[in-house]
């Protein structure tokens, strides 16, 4: 019973990826940018697992997805620490305020 196939899953992954990119580009809240990154990583993960199921990738796709999940957790921890430091220095989480390096 193969009614959906690879294309449907790749489409869902593409929607998540594009939503994440838009979220990263438009949100002015630092935490919102982080959520965009999570969405992008999830879109990539759906592609990995879909290719592991329908393609010749085998189990390697699932293991790559696991590594991506762990790296996303690590990235969220570090980015949250940076966001807290930013908030301590600027008393705001608006990423447009971080413009000291602007030339």
């Amino acid at each position: 019973m193969q009614s959906i196939g690879l294309t449907g899953y790749l489409g869902v992954g593409a929607i998540l990826f594009v939503c994440g990119v838009i979220c990263m580009a438009t949100k002015r809240n630092g935490i919102g940018v982080l959520m965009g990154v999570e969405l992008v990583l999830n879109g990539a993960n759906i592609n990995f697992v879909a290719f592991s199921r329908f393609g010749t990738l085998g189990l390697d796709g699932q293991i790559a997805a696991l590594f991506v999940i762990v790296l996303a957790a690590a990235e969220a921890a570090v980015a949250l620490a940076i966001a807290l430091n930013f908030y301590n220095n600027h008393l705001s989480i608006d990423v447009d305020r971080g413009n000291e390096l602007k030339g």
């Binding site: 838009i22 935490i31 965009g36 393609g55 085998g58 762990v70 620490a81 807290l84």
Partner: protein, 203 residues
């Protein structure tokens, strides 16, 4: 049944992602993110990746989102709870994102995946990790295979000839373990309590 479940999880994942983009309130963004990530875990279960789906639920929905919500709690005091993007920027981003999505979807549609799969299989061997009949009946779980692969042994590819066998993942597993430890220590060091400056800088 599989089609119905795919439509349910896929639509709620896409809707959750759209909700994250469109809402301006940070706490609601976190809620939509939970919806999107949970539906992604459902898609993983549907694809036969039970261990990855469970890990997604435990680490993403249970860990990372809670971390993000703590970040929201610690950083959004009053006026910073909603920082609006200007409508012009949003429309611009939506147009660009729509074009990007159209490009990705047309690319996916144009490739004949079955033909490429059979060609790859002829060239390199290998095949789908899981028999599709076993997924429907729920006979096979990937937990043991993933565990042995992370320890460096690939029992799932043992039937292949010696020169085509895939490598194990012991070294990447160790690297990512040390990486996670270093990152968590660094995050704790970065986020330690400090004296807050009295005047806001810049701006």
């Amino acid at each position: 049944m599989e089609t119905v479940l795919f439509l349910l999880f896929g639509l709620s994942a896409a809707g959750g992602a759209l909700g994250v983009v469109l809402t301006q309130h940070v706490v609601r963004m976190a809620f939509w993110l939970i919806i999107a990530l949970g539906s992604t875990a459902g898609l993983f279960f549907l694809l036969g990746a039970d261990f990855v789906g469970a890990t997604q639920l435990l680490i993403y929905v249970g860990g990372t989102v809670v971390l993000l919500i703590f970040g929201v709690m610690l950083t959004s005091s009053g006026p910073f709870l909603q920082i609006r993007t200007s409508p012009g920027e949003l429309i611009q981003a939506l147009i660009l994102g729509g074009l990007f999505l159209a490009m990705l979807v047309t690319t996916v549609m144009q490739v004949d995946w079955d033909r490429h799969e059979s060609r790859l299989q002829a060239d390199y061997g290998g095949g789908p990790a899981i028999d599709s009949r076993a997924i429907v009946t729920g006979e096979q779980s990937t937990v043991r295979q993933i565990g042995t692969a992370l320890l460096g042994a690939r029992f799932d590819a043992a039937a292949l000839p010696k020169d085509q066998q895939a490598a194990g993942y012991l070294l990447p597993f160790e690297i990512i373990s040390v990486h996670l430890l270093v990152v968590l220590i660094g995050a704790a060091y970065l986020a330690r309590a400090k004296r807050r400056r009295t005047k806001p800088e810049g701006g």
